[in-house]
């Protein structure tokens, strides 16, 4: 994916030069190892600011709503599925977008690399299958790229964009040998009490900064239910029940829409894996309705439609 940078710059420059778009949304090099910052450029000569590597984990679909310009956006598999969801939900207009597809081989989990590494990381480089960490004391380390991917990327089966106007590179081979729901099954196998304890423990460190919600491209409600005051659904303090209610309800709101892009987990400052909640709903949608979010523009979402053969065993 390293080689994508040149192509990304080239495409951005051309689109702006030809005035096909007013702005291009991509990434620029971050100020820290393993961090890139989403940015926009409006002038062709700024195209060289853009980069693309294994640290572009932020979901750029987030930055498309509420804009009037004609925009070009770089989209990984998950980003493109969220763009589809946005189009279906009338949040963005297809004809105002130029989607530049980026076939993806997964993003690096910076927390994982940091926790595996002893000592201060100075910089991190990568090639097709290795991640190379340079330490500030001069030493260096190498990891197998597959081993330090974000949790969702390691399990991703839609690495290629599903919708695009042009591509940065040839499509990549999809992973077929992954067990997507192993962690969800593990929780399903617990009994009620264990599950309750499990989630209590999982969500206990939450500081309610709402980074998960704000990083999520699905969470675009003008007023989130946690902010509503008439009625006020939940308290605003550090009460554990309130915290759990927030996470459970947020997950419900993502049912049948979540693409498991991993933005929530990546954004969380205290490292909560709230994907364990959204993935359950993703799994249910897949198993009950054969539905995966954002795969096509021509189909209404599972929870948006009624089919006579929908499962209804739970109804008396």
């Amino acid at each position: 994916m390293i080689a994508y940078t040149d192509k990304v710059r080239q495409i951005a420059r051309r689109l702006l030069e030809e005035s096909r778009v007013e702005m291009v949304i991509g990434f620029r090099k971050g100020s820290q190892p393993m961090m890139n910052e989403p940015c926009f450029i409006r002038k062709a000569e700024d195209a060289d600011k853009l980069v693309w590597d294994g640290n572009c984990g932020i979901n750029l679909a987030n930055y498309l709503t509420g804009r009037n310009e004609k925009i070009a956006v770089f989209a990984k598999g998950c980003d493109s599925r969220n763009i589809v969801t946005h189009i279906i939900e009338n949040k963005v207009q297809r004809d105002k977008l130029v989607i530049v597809g980026v076939p993806c081989t997964g993003m690096i989990d910076k927390r994982l690399v940091a926790s595996r590494t002893e000592g201060e990381i100075e910089s991190v480089g990568e090639n097709a299958d290795k991640v190379v960490v340079k330490l500030s004391d001069g030493g260096s380390l190498e990891y197998d790229r597959r081993e330090v991917l974000q949790g969702n990327c390691a399990l991703c089966v839609h690495r290629n964009p599903v919708i695009y106007d042009e591509l940065v590179a040839d499509l990549v081979e999809e992973q077929t040998d992954v067990d997507r729901w192993a962690d969800v099954r593990e929780i399903e196998e617990m009994d009620t009490e264990q599950r309750r304890r499990f989630f209590e423990d999982l969500l206990a460190p939450c500081i309610r900064c709402y980074a998960c919600r704000n990083a999520c491209p699905l969470c675009y409600c003008p007023t989130c239910f946690v902010d509503e005051s008439k009625p006020q659904w939940l308290g605003k303090g550090q009460d554990q029940i309130d915290i759990q209610t927030f996470h459970f309800l947020r997950a419900f709101h993502c049912a049948g829409r979540c693409t498991d892009c991993g933005a929530c987990q990546r954004a969380c400052p205290v490292g909560i894996n709230m994907r364990l909640l959204t993935k359950k709903l993703e799994k249910d949608c897949f198993e009950m309705y054969r539905w995966e979010a954002g795969m096509t523009l021509d189909q209404r979402p599972a929870l948006d439609t009624y089919k006579p053969d929908d499962p209804q065993g739970f109804i008396k």
Partner: protein, 52 residues
């Protein structure tokens, strides 16, 4: 909700037509029995907020 640790019998769904008063009575009785068997809901109830 079951997944997040609420007992399955604490949540029921049903379909009753406006003419089916007998079914209504049946369902109410059945649910009440089940919940009685389960005992009171002690988890996931917001008690007084516990803060500093």
């Amino acid at each position: 909700m079951e997944y997040m640790g609420v007992e399955p019998d604490r949540l029921h769904f049903s379909w009753i037509s406006s003419a089916e008063s007998t079914k209504f009575v049946e369902v109410v009785s059945e649910i009440t029995e089940k919940v009685k068997a389960l005992g009171p809901n002690t988890h996931y109830v917001k008690k007084e907020a516990k803060v500093a």
